[in-house]
């Protein structure tokens, strides 16, 4: 059965005054129907741009699709016109954004914003649409939704607003929901509740989710498969379980090492030195060379870029010897 979403060698470049920024530089990724696929990486690794480009939400200019395909249920999203893409947006694929405080229109009531997808895609109006919206609110756990639906966003807390975003995304029963760091802006306790709601609804509706985060713990909690991105490219991808037990790429291993939850009491915390390279001036060979302390930096490729290879069934990793070399200690 072909995957629901099949991204092949996606390349998105931004033409700015400081030169061409290759934010997404050859990303391939598959999401099966009903699967929760995770994308993890530091900020600036291109994970959000990848997600946004699927729905054409990257402003062109300065952005430009430099190459690649994004097959979704048989059609390449990248080649659709604005009008055709609108048919998919909010109907077949919907998105949940990071900051609930700014993602809802402060000047419109919650009801209006919830009903809008129904108006656009199902031509529903008035009473019937309102009931669907109230049901959606109740499904995300908002008490006496019937009264509160007519309130304005500023009358809701951060957590409740994110629930509204979730309700809005699921109200048209899409096939795929892209969640771009949905809980990063929330404090921990509320984060738990929102993730709980997402997991419950995902199971009930069987919707595929593309979960984007920089928090490794979350990935393992939510996702079936994980793709690690660095400097606009995929460095490693595998099922969640495989990755947890045997990360091979130096960057992935570094991520796991620097996760505070994993470290025992009293021993020094490890963090990957330096910061990600400037996407406008990417190095020729392996992008992780300067920061590779867990592998063997000298062996990192310098002349050509490493490619993804399948070292085990369902487990791909960049074939850079330096990064694959085991750590000395």
């Amino acid at each position: 059965m072909p995957p629901l979403l099949d991204i092949q060698d996606l390349r998105i470049h931004f033409h700015t005054r400081d030169g061409v920024v290759r934010a997404v530089d050859g990303v391939s990724l598959q999401v099966e129907a009903g699967e929760v696929a995770g994308i993890v990486g530091e900020s600036g690794s291109g994970k959000s741009v990848t997600a946004a480009s699927l729905l054409g939400l990257v402003p062109m200019p300065p952005g430009r699709i430099a190459g690649g395909r994004a097959w979704f249920d048989g059609t390449d999203l990248l080649r659709l016109t604005g009008r055709e893409l609108n048919g998919y947006r909010g109907k077949r694929i919907s998105m949940i954004f990071q900051d609930p405080m700014t993602s809802l229109n402060p000047y419109l009531r919650i009801s209006t914003q919830l009903i809008e997808p129904l108006e656009i895609h199902e031509g529903l109006r008035g009473k019937r649409a309102l009931h669907r919206a109230i049901d959606a609110l109740e499904s995300v756990g908002i008490a006496d939704a019937a009264k509160r639906i007519h309130a304005y966003p500023h009358e809701f807390s951060g957590g409740m607003r994110q629930r509204v975003m979730i309700a809005m995304a699921l109200i048209t029963k899409p096939d795929l929901v892209i969640a771009d760091e949905p809980t990063t802006a929330l404090d921990v306790t509320v984060q738990k509740q929102v993730l709980e709601v997402m997991r419950r609804l995902q199971r009930e509706t069987g919707t595929a989710v593309l979960f984007i985060t920089h928090d490794l713990a979350l990935v393992h909690e939510m996702c079936d498969s994980v793709t690690v991105m660095y400097a606009g490219r995929v460095v490693e991808s595998a099922s969640a379980a495989m990755l947890a037990t045997g990360p091979r790429h130096a960057y992935t291993r570094g991520l796991y090492r620097s996760n505070p939850a994993g470290a025992g009491k009293g021993c020094a915390l490890y963090s990957i030195p330096g910061s990600p390279p400037d996407p406008a001036r990417l190095p020729g060979g392996c992008a992780f060379r300067e920061r590779n302390t867990l592998g063997d930096a000298d062996q990192c490729l310098a002349d050509h870029r490493p490619e993804l290879v399948e070292i085990a069934p369902g487990h791909h990793v960049q074939d850079c010897p330096g990064c694959l070399a085991p750590s000395q200690d």
């Binding site: 609108n86 947006r89 954004f97 700014t102 229109n105 402060p106 000047y107 809008e116 656009i120 500023h154």
Partner: protein, 309 residues
Amino acid sequence: MTRVILQRLLQGLLVLFVLATLTFFLVRALPYGPFQDERAVPSHVRERLEQLHGYDKPLVVQYAMRLGNLARGELGTSLKVMEGREVTAILAQAFPVSLALGLMAMLIAVPVGVAAGVIAAVRRNRVVDYAVMAVALLGICLPNFVIGPVLAELFGRRLAWFPVSGWEPRDLSFMILPAVTLGLGSAAYLSRLTRTGMVEVLHQDFIRTARAKGQRESWVVLRHALRGGLIPPVAYLGPAFAATVSGSVVVESIFQVPGIGRLFIKAIETSDEALIMGPVLIYGSLIVVANFLADLVQLWLNPRLRSNS
């Protein structure tokens, strides 16, 4: 809500009081009295006139009498510009003209300004944007007493599309040139403010959310962005009306529009105190009302303000 209205009413009265006092003493401080004339007015006649109009009483008494009359709504009689005529009668004929011109100017300025601003914001950094902004900048920098005569010369005399001066209440063609001259400055300001407001809003996250819902671009702009984008220009509506009202003083003299602006200038030249006081109070109350309306629209636009006001 009523508390706000009451508070605004009080402030309005305070404004009118300040205006009345300021005008009274400023005019009285002018060195030449209203009773001088081109031909020498015999001294016994001037004494009689001063006695008749209470100019011989001490200043404070005159001021108190003046405030008393104003409180009762009597604006007094003009002493020079239209000697002996009740100011209320003069203004009754002149004020509707100025109001019509002012409203016509705003009717031209607001839609044109806002539309230009929205188009410029949507087509940001493209030819349309630069063109609109350049015209807007010109509109701000060109004084109305240059635009007026140029328009009059071009459209009035050469092309004879519109009359060059004068006024026919029911005939719109007389209003076009003065209203355009008067409204151009405000239209320019409004377009710049709308553009800034719209650009600001179009960058907000909820616009991206709206697009993610599959909403058509035109709806995204008009339904989602416009309400937020209008806040800066609406804040300017009050001062825009004030500028239009003040500007009418100049435009009315260029196009011979029989409004209170022209009356005001003539009254100043002859220190005709009652006829200065009338327009000043009218201008003042118009501006107080305009500011209040602008705030109401602001409240309607922005629910966040409504909840805590």
